[in-house]
């Protein structure tokens, strides 16, 4: 069927082949037939062939090479999905011969315009590295390049590649650290996990410890935890004050919201970041989120509980308020129950122990006997940790000795034994009590016998009696009990030989002829050791020291005690052993390395004096701000402050110029009617500066956007719209009209803009509005230099009493000014802007839009462009306000579809504009 000429038959055949692969059957003999179809037009067939290729190429390397040329061709395809999938498959074919081809493809894809292809390139880096580690050097170069990428899509993947290929090259992160922190909110969830883990490691090498030097891990006790704030202050007064690096703070601040993520892995990674990096008193913010994760699937619970168990050893206070969340339910799986028990034990202190013990008593009755046994051990641990309750616990455990279940009894005896070992002298009555018990479980009987033997001096009267009883039933006992009886006999013989000499000999004789050779051996050994005769020699002198040596009490401690050597949330932590590829978390450095390495030079964002004479900026400058815009466009949606920290370094120098321009602006009256006059003046000015003439904008209905809602503005509402006039305040500014309404019931006074923008754009403010009566409204205009980027300009709107943070979000189409040119000029300019500078798309238009009139209407409604008079096509021209770069738009219609082309040097603006136009044109009017 694969050889068939019919596509549908081939597809059917391929589906069956994939079915075979899925079931793990070998389908490799079909390779030649399948590989022929790699160039198929049918995309589904093609994908299935890809699946097959990736699976079997390693086995059939020679034949696989036949397909390579197809991929190379596909790498140049205009469709980004095809480019990306070609790269994916090419890099997944594990054939060493094509390493150079892969390398080339990766390098090319890393500079691709589509972030999706760049993301694929980041994945391909890891694949190539695992195929041929010798390529590392080149790959690191690509990684370095991709780390600079500002797309949120790429960030996660490239950091993953970084972790895999060159985790030791921490120097590559410096310049990108702040960017990564700021982008974090918008990266997809899987990328967030990887980035957070990487940043945790990074921060541990770059910042000094926020924990007090004298007591890094001394906050076991609750008191220290709650008082840490005060103590910190005291400590600060004595030693040099600790000031947190702003970058360190940035990381903590930007990761905190992610605790609310629905993805449990993200929450866990933020939690571990706080655990490893935050000052002690801030760590507890993660508690609630971790407890929330316990509502999730069983497997998630398992991992989270393990981490909580480790945390709770060091910091009881963190989880104590949530103790009830760790109560065991009868429906929990056994390993979950055990972990919860572990945590409850860790949390136990004097205050809550009675509640915990009560809970434990219920557990002991559980039908799950393994769990009941674990509970008894937990009680034992509580008893040793908290001396006040040791007696109560012992009594409780002794009661359990009468339990019908063997495991419970055995476990209690064992735990009692351990507890008694720590303080035997005070508890001879318990030993006596135990001696009187008739316990059916051999293990427990053995433990009791051992106890009596060990502490026979504390119970001198009972011990021989017990031995007498045991001697009676010796033959019918289990082996383990017999051994302990022999031990008991020997110990008694040494301490109290008068009373027990005969009994001991009787038992030794019984043991001598026992069926079990262990017991026979033991008997023989004991006899030689304790009964002095001519053959025994020197050893018997030491018998007492051998048998009655003081034995160290067993330490009852958490199994999670030493887990903190691993980074929380890692596989190694879960397994409690180092997994392959585990990267150690380094200790804090004593002195922080130079923090200026993280500084990024900010490109000159606004330089009016310069650009007046030089309309075009230099090339590399442009490249930088271009990629910046892309990030901002993507970042702006979810309201993150991307790029917010990159303070523009030139704001102070710009400030002076700024003041001058403000002064000039004050001469002109501020209402819109007079701006028309100025507009004319301005057109004149501009025409001298630019080779193209600015034309008046096509009229479109005003589309107001909300700046400040009346609820948030406490009565003051503000809207803004783009009047599409050249700005009167500066050549590089977009004019924006603000309309204020007073919905409140009292007049507002002195409404003005505080001059500083938080995002670095310069704004020409309006003259302060002295008074705005209730229900009155006033319109003012301002100029904003967006620097040709769609990043929102944020500033503070102040009234006499209040301050509101607001932001103006420009659409890309509003960053333009229409220009007039002839059709010849247009095609000449267009000819210059091809290749990289051209972005185009085919769209299907709604039938209503087919005639040319609505098309131009739609285009101008989206973007402030001027119509170029032309024969048949819809042609538009504009320039960017700030840089003056030309933007050319062309719509060529063919029936119901249309070819949309945007040409501009600013590729990012081009693609954004293209996207907007696309949506506008393809939707119905």
């Amino acid at each position: 069927m694969l050889e068939s000429t019919k596509e549908s038959l081939k597809l059917e055949a391929m589906k069956r082949v994939v079915g075979l692969i899925a079931r793990g059957k070998n389908a490799s003999e079909l390779f030649p037939a399948v590989v022929k179809n790699v160039a198929s037009k049918n995309i589904e067939l093609k994908k299935l062939v890809y699946v097959y290729l990736v699976r079997y190429a390693e086995e059939q390397q020679d034949l696989a090479l036949l397909s390579i040329s197809t991929f190379q061709r596909a790498l140049k395809d205009p469709n980004q999905l095809i480019r990306a999938s070609a790269l994916r498959v090419l890099s997944s074919i594990r054939v060493p011969i094509i390493v150079p081809i892969m390398m080339l493809a990766i390098k090319e894809a890393a500079t691709d315009l589509s972030p999706y292809v760049r993301k694929t390139a980041a994945h391909a880096i890891q694949k190539l590295y695992s195929l041929d580690p010798d390529q590392k050097e080149h790959l690191v170069e690509v990684i370095e390049k991709l780390l600079k990428d500002k797309s949120t899509l790429v960030a996660g993947s490239v950091v993953m590649a970084f972790e895999e290929v060159c985790p030791e090259r921490i120097d590559l992160i410096h310049k990108n650290y702040r960017k990564l922190c700021n982008l974090l909110m918008d990266v997809e969830e899987w990328g967030q996990v990887v980035i957070i883990n990487m940043l945790t490691r990074y921060a541990r090498t770059q910042f000094v410890s926020p924990w007090r030097q004298d007591g890094v891990f001394e906050e076991n006790s609750e008191k220290a935890f709650y008082d840490s704030d005060e103590e910190k202050k005291e400590g600060a007064a004595q030693t040099k004050p600790y000031v947190m690096d702003p970058d360190h703070r940035l990381l903590l601040r930007n990761t905190k919201p992610l605790l609310q993520s629905r993805n449990t892995a993200v929450v866990m990674s933020v939690a571990q970041l706080y655990w490893h990096l935050a000052p002690k008193h801030e760590v507890s913010v993660v508690t609630k989120s971790l407890v929330r994760l316990l509502r999730s699937h069983r497997e998630v619970q398992y991992v989270v509980l393990q981490n909580i168990a480790t945390m709770s050893i060091q910091r009881k206070g963190m989880f104590e308020p949530f103790m009830k969340s760790f109560y065991v339910r009868s429906t929990d799986a056994t390993h979950i129950k055990t972990l919860k028990l572990e945590i409850l034990t860790n949390l136990a202190n004097e205050a809550n122990i009675s509640t915990i013990l009560r809970e434990f008593q219920t557990y002991v009755k559980s039908q799950d006997k393994a769990f009941a046994a674990a509970t008894i051990q937990a009680i034992g641990r509580c008893a040793t940790n908290i001396s006040e309750i040791t007696d109560a616990c012992l009594n409780g455990l002794v009661l359990l000795l009468s339990n019908r279940d063997e495991t419970v009894v055995a476990e209690s005896v064992v735990v009692i034994k351990k507890l008694l070992q720590t303080q035997p002298s005070q508890h001879s009555d318990i030993i006596k009590h135990m001696a009187k018990l008739r316990v059916p479980v051999p293990m427990a009987r053995a433990s009791i016998l051992w106890l009596i033997g060990e502490y026979c001096e504390h119970v001198p009267r009972i011990a021989p009696d017990v031995l007498r009883k045991m001697a009676k039933t010796f033959t019918s006992e289990e082996d383990i009990v017999k051994l302990q009886t022999v031990n008991l006999a020997a110990k008694l013989y040494l301490t109290n030989s008068k009373q027990t000499k005969l009994l001991t000999q009787y038992i030794l004789n019984l043991g001598k002829y026992d069926q079990n050779y262990d017991i026979r051996d033991r008997t023989r050994f004991i006899r030689q050791l304790i009964v002095p005769n001519e053959k025994s020699g020197a050893l018997s002198k030491y018998a007492r020291r051998i048998l009655l040596a003081p034995k160290p009490a067993p330490v009852l401690q958490s199994a999670f005690k030493d887990r903190d050597r691993f980074q929380l949330g890692t596989l190694s932590h879960t397994l409690n052993s180092k997994a392959t590829g585990y990267l150690e978390l380094s200790d804090w450095p004593d002195v922080a390395p130079d923090q200026s390495v993280r500084n990024v030079e900010v490109a000159k964002e606004w330089a009016p004096g310069v650009s007046k004479t030089k309309p075009a900026k230099s090339d590399d400058d442009k490249f930088y701000s271009d990629s910046g815009e892309e990030e901002e466009a993507e970042g702006s949606d979810s309201g993150s402050s991307s790029g917010g920290s990159e303070d523009s370094s030139d704001s102070s120098s710009g400030g002076k110029l700024w003041a001058r321009m403000c002064a000039r602006g004050r001469f002109m009256s501020l209402n819109s009617s007079s701006s028309e006059v100025i507009h004319v003046v301005h057109c004149f000015c501009l025409s001298r500066l630019f080779p193209v003439q600015v034309s008046s904008p096509v009229f479109v209905p005003v589309r107001p956007h909300e700046l400040l809602h009346r609820m948030t503005g406490k009565g003051l509402a503000a809207q803004y719209h783009f009047p599409r006039q050249p700005c009167i305040y500066g050549d590089h500014m977009v004019s924006v009209q603000l309309t204020f309404n007073n919905h409140g019931d009292h007049a507002l006074e002195d409404i003005h803009i505080s001059e500083k923008t938080s995002t670095g754009q310069s704004i020409h403010c309006f003259r302060p509005i002295e008074r705005l009566e209730p229900e009155a409204s006033v319109t003012v205009s301002v100029g904003v230099d967006f620097n040709d980027s769609t990043q929102a300009a944020s500033f503070q709107l102040c009234s006499k009493t209040e301050r509101f943070s607001v932001s103006i979000q420009p659409a890309v189409g509003e960053l333009l000014l229409p220009v007039t040119m002839t059709e010849q000029d247009f095609s000449r300019e267009q000819g210059k802007l091809v290749g990289m500078n051209e972005s185009s798309a085919t769209i299907t238009m709604a039938p209503e839009t087919v005639s040319s009139q609505p098309v131009s209407k739609k285009v101008v409604s989206v973007a402030n462009v001027g119509v170029v008079p032309s024969g048949q096509d819809n042609v538009f021209a504009a320039k960017l306000v700030s840089s003056g770069t030309l933007v050319l738009v062309c719509v060529v219609q063919k029936d119901s579809s249309a070819q949309l082309t945007v040409n501009t040097e600013r590729t990012v603006v081009g693609s954004m504009l293209l996207r907007e136009l696309q949506t506008a044109l393809s939707s119905a009017p």
């Binding site: 993947s157 449990t264 509502r295 497997e299 990267l583």
Partner: protein, 423 residues
């Protein structure tokens, strides 16, 4: 990261395998089977298993083990979370996540897995994107495809993949624009014999079904947002606005999704909607026992309690039950030892009661532990915490959508202990 995935059914058959890097022999699963044997019940299998060369991270869902093979260090939750997403995606595509469904759609499953991971790193996990790349199977579509020869696979990159809102597909169009929100709350509680609350808390979720055209920007506000103690959101929710204004502002994904889950502040007393009077005794002699259970409404805020089901895991020695129920029906399964009493609607006037005797295995000692009762219930039109949606506003788009909010309260892990608590 994730190297390979094996799907294993309860009988221990590996019915699907997929490798994202070089092929790993399925014999690696033997370690898993070993652990499974040791654990006994599927729930007890440890999620992380170590083998000499690999690490196996597995989840158990819908009677299927998803076993992934890992070679290097990776956060285990990362893998676990991803595997659950895979299971959810199957559910989403095929309506159920079962062995039969997966086997029937093996090609789509394979295409999906191919898109979801690249080199073991998640590539696209948003259902809206995947559905544009690979269309879910419907009877109509498969018929059309066989006739026209068109395929299930999208040809262009979904626009969502490139934007900052990957969860929403572009160009959504509906003739009826509607947005429904279900506020579902679950009460987790442990009551002791006397009816006192040992432990109670409310966990809630807001599930949404949004079918709106274009790119709507929604804002959902609550009457009493202070009730919410701990929340987690779908990535679409703008966190900053929640922090400053306590409103949910978001551009929703298309279709069904979970908007948020929350926890209600435990300090507020949790209203317990029912009370249970019960008496379960086992007699030392005569190998029998007695059961007497009455269920009645307590704090229901005037709403009817429905779907009440009482489940009891009896001790092993209970052979059979001879009971009479004044309302509803009861069943006792002598194999699993589970007694289920399906009551239905709670009647205010005549309280349902279940009474009768149990016969025990003769000669066996009387069970030492009294079984606890698990209660299931449902209250329509009520969120037990008192949470209320204030309003839903839509921006950007012009049309008027149809909006609806539904409240349901359910019992989560609601247990009544039959042993007196040790106060």
């Amino acid at each position: 990261m994730i190297h390979s995935l094996f799907l294993i059914n309860n009988a221990g058959d590996i019915f699907l395998e997929k490798h994202w890097k070089s092929v790993i022999s399925r014999s690696v699963c033997d370690y898993f089977f070993e652990a499974q044997d040791k654990a006994g019940e599927p729930d007890n299998v440890s999620p992380v298993i170590r083998t000499p060369h690999h690490y196996l991270i597995n989840i158990y869902r819908e009677k299927i083990f998803f076993v992934s093979v890992i070679q290097t260090e990776v956060p285990p939750l990362f893998v676990i979370e991803f595997l659950h997403r895979v299971a959810e995606m199957f559910q989403d595509y095929f309506g159920e996540c079962s062995e039969v469904a997966i086997k029937d759609n093996v090609v789509i499953v394979y295409e999906l897995l191919e898109e979801m991971l690249d080199n073991g790193f998640p590539l696209a996990t948003e259902s809206n994107i995947l559905k544009e790349l690979i269309k879910p199977p419907t009877i109509l579509r498969s018929m059309v495809n066989t006739i026209t020869g068109s395929s299930n696979v999208g040809e262009t990159l979904p626009t969502g993949q490139l934007s900052t809102i990957p969860w929403r597909r572009a160009g959504v169009k509906y003739t009826n624009n509607e947005a429904y929100f279900d506020v579902v709350e679950e009460i987790d509680a442990i009551l002791d014999k006397s009816g006192t609350t040992v432990f109670a808390e409310i966990q809630g979720v807001i599930d949404a079904c949004v079918k709106l055209s274009g790119m709507p920007d929604l804002t959902l506000s609550f009457m009493n947002p202070r009730l919410l103690d701990d929340v987690s959101f779908h990535p679409c929710v703008r966190f900053k606005r929640w922090e400053s204004e306590r409103v949910l502002s978001f551009i929703p994904p298309d279709g069904n999704f979970r908007l948020m889950s929350y926890h209600v502040n435990a300090q507020n007393l949790v209203a317990i909607p029912v009370y249970v009077r019960q008496n379960i005794n086992f007699f030392e002699t005569g190998s029998s026992g007695r059961v007497d259970i009455t269920v009645g409404p307590k704090q229901t805020m005037g709403k009817t309690v429905e779907n009440v089901i009482v489940t009891i895991h009896m001790p092993k020695v209970v052979l059979s039950a001879n009971l009479t129920a004044t309302q509803g029906t009861y069943t006792y399964d002598p194999v699993t030892k589970i007694l289920v009493w399906d009551i239905g609607k709670l009647n205010q006037q005549k309280l349902p009661n279940l009474k009768g005797s149990l016969s025990l295995q003769s000669g066996a000692p009387k069970p030492e532990e009294n079984p606890s009762l698990n209660i299931d219930l449902k209250i329509q039109q009520l969120a037990i915490s008192g949470l209320k949606v204030n309003r839903l506003d839509m921006y950007v788009e012009k049309y008027k959508p149809f909006k609806g909010v539904k409240y349901v309260t359910k019992a989560g892990k609601f247990q009544v202990l039959t042993v007196p608590s040790h106060v």
